[in-house]
Symmetry: D2
Subunit: 383 residues, 4 copies
């Protein structure tokens, strides 16, 4: 497995990082479909494509613990996860479908997705006053109609929606929140716009959609009617954990680039890396990276043991999102002016990582949930 991570690392260094800047001057674009196909084909030839996917679909069925170093290696480049097909939201959707989809859905959706033939999106979040941090505010409705439902509502921040082959849509039925599989070209699905965000590396962007009487039949229900929030949890724990893996790779790269830069520059008669305040930033980065990795592996072990691991994945996510942002921020600071420029990969990584403190549950929501568990555990004991 370490061997696989090393091969991924080498592939990223050799083939993906050079592609980061190849689109002339536009350092922020997500690369585009053409680049995706080219890199994924290359990864397939190297035998490293989709290592997370079930073996039935050509993957390696890696456990979470096994994924961690591989996804970290992929995450070194903002295009690395896409190149291996382990990018969000597809990777999480593969997991969800593998857990819940019917045989027909597996054939129609899971297979093509796992093989990289199509991309997908997970359409849960809504613009205010709909479902955001508080999912109970879900407003998209699937109302009864002959032969199934008609789904209507608005969705926002739907990552990868532009160019996706299908969407997993969360909507409210009479029986409760329900997930539907919806082809992206179904009548009534409208892509309104890309939300322009700080991060630019997600292929297919973060989109705003309108669903206008989109027709769905019983065969389109993912799992059971009314179980949408439960499946969201099935998806969420692993998905946020693999996010940490990928961003860990990016932050690690920023850190390494900054140390290398600082070691090669001098001031006051010594390399910058000899200055105590720079040493402090380097050490703080090492600490934040190590602590993120340690919490990440705890979450992986819990998930691999079959636990929903909500607490462990929450801990890894909230700590990781904040720690990795600090790492990238210190990396910028260590490099001075070059650190905030496109001359080094550092500023770009910092910009890409920042939103992770908000995506997949803002830090504040994770803290609220962690606090409430602690109060249930300790709130009754005698001090």
């Amino acid at each position: 497995m370490t061997d696989l991570a090393a091969r991924v690392r080498s592939f990223i260094d050799t083939h993906v990082i050079p592609a980061e800047n190849e689109s002339d001057g536009d350092i922020e674009a997500a690369g585009g479909e053409e680049l995706r196909l080219k890199l994924q084909e290359h990864a397939r030839r190297e035998g490293i494509f989709a290592p997370h996917a079930p073996t039935a679909y050509g993957g390696r069925g890696l456990t979470m613990t096994e994924r961690a170093p591989v996804f970290e290696a992929a995450g070194r480049s903002v295009f690395g996860p896409m190149a291996l097909g382990v990018n969000a939201p597809d990777e999480g959707n593969v997991h969800l479908l593998d857990q819940v989809a019917s045989p027909a859905q597996r054939t129609r959706y899971l297979g093509p997705l796992a093989r990289g033939e199509v991309r997908s999106a997970f359409a849960m979040t809504e613009p205010p006053p709909g479902a955001g941090s508080d999912p109970s505010m879900l407003r998209t409705v699937a109302r009864d109609a002959p032969g199934g439902w008609l789904i209507s509502g608005r969705k926002k921040f739907i990552t990868g929606a532009d160019g996706a082959g299908f969407l997993i849509v969360m909507a409210r039925t009479d029986a409760g929140a329900t997930m539907f599989l919806v082809p992206a070209d179904a009548p009534g699905v409208h892509l309104n716009r890309h939300v322009s965000t700080m991060d630019k590396s997600m292929l297919g962007g973060h989109c705003e959609l309108t669903l206008d009487d989109v027709r769905a039949g019983p065969e389109d229900v993912l799992g059971e009617v009314g179980q949408g929030f439960r499946y969201a949890q099935v998806r969420l724990g692993p998905a946020r954990t693999t996010h940490v893996m990928r961003w860990l790779g990016a932050a690690q790269r920023a850190h390494e680039a900054a140390v290398a830069y600082a070691a090669a520059r001098s001031a006051w008669g010594q390399p910058l890396t000899g200055l105590g305040m720079v040493e402090q930033m380097i050490a703080d980065n090492e600490i934040d990276l190590a602590a993120t990795r340690a919490l990440l592996m705890s979450a992986c072990r819990a998930l691999d043991a079959g636990s929903p691991a909500r607490e462990q994945t929450s801990l890894a996510k909230v700590f990781g999102a904040e720690a990795l942002h600090r790492v990238a921020d210190r990396a910028m600071q260590m490099c001075g002016g070059a650190g905030v420029s496109a001359d080094l990969p550092v500023a770009r990584i910092a910009r890409e990582i920042r939103p992770f403190r908000i995506y997949d549950g803002p830090s504040e929501v994770h803290r609220m949930s962690l606090a409430r568990r602690a109060v249930r555990r300790y709130g009754v004991a005698q001090p």
Copy 2:
């Protein structure tokens, strides 16, 4: 004065902020020369242009204390300082020229600059291994030549150089570091490229220049030969202080936008502003803004009293740069997904502010200097 600040605030809200996004889709451009001329003409008609400039050049000759609220109001928009002609580096250059320039130089350079007829640049920083945080590493050389000097070297991060009418160039002569006034179209001045940085609002960019045997005569020396570092200090104290004023305005706007956003959205049955963790972010912003303002005013009072105020301006700069970045970061966090998008001004301000922890002296260099002063003061006493 409060009245002037109020008028500036109103001008920014009404005329400058709407222009921020008018260049279709390109939210990051610095606006361009056309926008500058339009906004400056408008500001002139409103009687609020160049309030810092000497009265002899049509300005109001505001003291530093008087500038603070006015520049803060201007700083609410990333284009506001440019609209009033109080942007870096022109504003600092006006100050420097007013202190040091000869009568002829005042006529040729200071007047046009103060009136907004030309822009300028301050060419001190060099790429490694030249002058960066440690100015003693200056490598640009002005070697003796008949009738004066020939200046050669490389400069980097020269803000506003593209489109500037003239440059103030720091170079090493036999008699020590010296400042030269150099027309931007002088033979031998080459603009190599814009360094692509996180911040995008500086008109004329951050440029890399080559100076190749640029000819300068005695009449082009700013002040006296060999006094370059001393004049750099004359410029630096006030320049970093007015930077704090401008970024304070930007951070204040981000904070206000975030509070307004959070007050208008709900989760778990109450406005986001009713949640304790959001209250904490709001309060921490209020504290950081107030403390920045308090340190800023201390520095202004010291400067107005005639002190070089190196310690007070350093304190205001290092605290302000870090505190205002925290304010903008919390403002993003408070707004969730919208906070990291272009739907609110917050993410843009956060991106623009971040480099200020590096520009005008990285926080680490200011800390080194503050520590050394403290050691001189207290290092000999008995504990």
Copy 3:
């Protein structure tokens, strides 16, 4: 005024600091009444006693702005404020009585207190479930009785109560919260115990009291019946501001002691003060001290201008309490093992300062109030 501060500084260095450790081995005691009388008599002879007190009572009637450097100088020693009679709660009680007391009350209580003939206590806080951070939970009751009221209830954390001549007691009457002046030896006043706290320097301790049908007549009402919470505010703003002054002095001393210690010790071939990570701690201390001082002076100016200055004093208190604790904590860290020992004054100051983040309103309560003001200001604007 600077002159007065300098004289106080010299008195503290020469006469008070040596007394800190004179009680053999017991570094934590508050000194005791004997020491108080000795030091206060000495201060009176030096002409520096009670500079805050009204001139009618022998004081100098210093404004808040004038007090700041004097109280800071006094605060350098944990016994300094007591030596000058500017310690809590007496100093705040002098202020409150000067604002609100009747002529007879001035003669009976204010005069002796201002002259240091007696000490006093302010009895508002109660044990749970009574008045703590939320004063509306006040449970001490003054119920109507012939000729006045009978006051019953429990009070906790009543600073200085042991040995005080009189108490200002907050109790609930039919007409609302009311302040009463109660001689400490009035029947029904019971001192249950000293609460043993981290800080040890408050003469008279932090006490738990029971009030058991303590009789009070109309002449014992401070100000008007039902106005207790309003007067608490009158007292609170200045009282928390002078707290910042005193703790600023203590933190400044810890900082100076740490710099002097570190300058005199070496490791890796240089003085500790030459190590970058130590420089960072020194600089961060300088920044925290300067920012506290700047916010403090803003609050003083607002108070002197006649404003209740609730926001400014809250800002100074919450920032100051946290910043000064950081200063003392860094000072310990700089000194290594000596820093956490009684060989230097640093650890003691750190221990004394820590509770200030809780006393006079926990940081969280100040943040709540600051946030709510901000929401009222900005929560309605359009983002």
Copy 4:
């Protein structure tokens, strides 16, 4: 093993915590020899004494991974480690002797120590200008003498020295730094004083010693002459790791006590644990505790695998010392006035934990070493 931890937890709750305050009024004393003997005898009867000791000496020979939950349970009480005989410095000395001691030394020193018959001390640190953070400054000298050496020098912060049966003394011979086993009653060993420190729970205190021509023979050399620094490393890695285990238990207890306290008190109409700012403190504690535990277990696994694990143990120590101090500090803050008093165990734990950021290598020294490793790893790569 979990079962053993549970038994230890129960023993601590039932027998050790009640003893914390039993010495009337003196909450700070380390308990004394009588208490030690009583508690250790009790632990022996329960079959939980000295679980770390080699089985040959009656222990269980637990691996580091196995020790972690057991030592954490013991650490809940400041007297818990002493009760089980797993306190510093004895526990680390058992480890060192087990690695290095000769058969005769094992019989004479290791056996009695492992069985709790004697206590020990590790005498390396010296007062300035001797060995502190920089061990190369070692000044205690073992000069050649007939039949061995004569050791002279001064030692400071020698934990547990008062009452110890023997000392492990680091001294400089011609062949380099060397460790000697010295009976505490050997002629020339003088205990000058206890250094009075913030932490009070170490039985035998932190002592200052003078060594005045203390005679040592070849049989008193621990391991080989000249290998003292190498053995110090053998001891250091595990010793700092078990420190983290013990303090983790203390911080965990402070956290639990604070949550229980806050859950039982109300303000503004709800339990304190329902306030967002309190939830934030609770969550931050959970995060810090989990991250400490995760880094700790990484270090344990590396040590158990036979690695010196200098980097992993350094990471666990520096993160743990800072994180656990934050946990205890937040626990105090959550409890308001009670938090800084002796009414709860929180303030005492906070005070005991603080010096751990200095003991066993100040955070700054660990950061320096972590940074240098990182520079060696990444400083040559191309950014």
